[in-house]
């Protein structure tokens, strides 16, 4: 596995606005996952996008993947205070046990 680098490190928006966070990685992947962590709690899987996909939606989430630029973005539309959390990307390549390597994440604050 490899570590993704999330950007920005912190993001503060008003409720109702959209939030965009980015992820870059270094080597080719099979898929890329996004996880959310509420303060000090367990990680929750949000969405997985495969290397042959360019865009994927799940509810208010939209993920894009650009394998030529080795980057992904996560868009949360119509944000809510409950979206306040840290968001992590996890690029996965190869086979094996698929252990995840997390970066520092993007800390999103949604202000009511």
């Amino acid at each position: 596995s490899q570590q993704g680098e999330e950007d920005p490190q912190a993001l503060s928006i008003q409720e109702g606005e959209n939030a965009t966070m980015n992820c870059s990685y270094k080597t080719s992947i099979n898929n890329l996952q996004w996880y959310r962590q509420n303060s000090g709690r367990g990680l929750v899987h949000l969405i997985l996008i495969r290397s042959n996909e360019r865009e994927k939606h799940s509810g208010r989430l939209r993920v894009t993947l650009d394998t030529s630029k080795k980057s992904s973005s996560l868009l949360i539309t119509a944000s809510r205070a409950a979206d306040t959390a840290s968001y992590f990307c996890a690029p996965l390549s190869g086979a094996g046990s698929y252990q995840l390597t997390f970066g520092k994440g993007t800390k999103l604050s949604v202000i009511p």
């Binding site: 367990g42 929750v44 899987h45 094996g96 698929y98 252990q99």
Partner: protein, 115 residues
């Protein structure tokens, strides 16, 4: 919806003591993991476990650590002689086997404090 559970939620121990952290993965999952997160730092991979043996482990997972699946439901992490720097949140995760089953499901964590 099935979920990964972990016990205890909090554990306080004295330096040098042994601790066992317990996890019950989702019942039909076959891959199990332990991660840890020191306060304010990244979530770090410790070990993965499949078919009753360790499949991969990180540099953090030294001889002080061991994992076991003592029965058909529990998955444990043992720290033999705890150090102050073992204080962290420990997360268990599990997933299904096979291609297309890369999603991991995390438990709520055990907060370990070593004094």
């Amino acid at each position: 919806e099935p979920e990964v559970t972990q016990t205890p939620s909090h554990q306080v121990t004295q330096m040098g003591q042994e601790v066992i952290l317990r996890c019950v993965p989702i019942s039909n999952h076959l891959y199990f993991y332990w991660y840890r997160q020191i306060l304010g730092q990244k979530v770090e991979f410790l070990v993965s476990f499949y078919n009753n043996e360790i499949s991969e482990k990180s540099e953090i997972f030294d001889d002080q650590f061991s994992v076991e699946r003592p029965d058909g439901s529990n998955f444990t992490l043992k720290i033999r002689s705890t150090k102050l720097e073992d204080s962290a949140m420990y997360f268990c995760a599990s997933r299904l086997q096979g291609r297309g089953q890369e999603t991991q499901y995390f438990g709520p964590g055990t907060r370990l404090l070593v004094l």
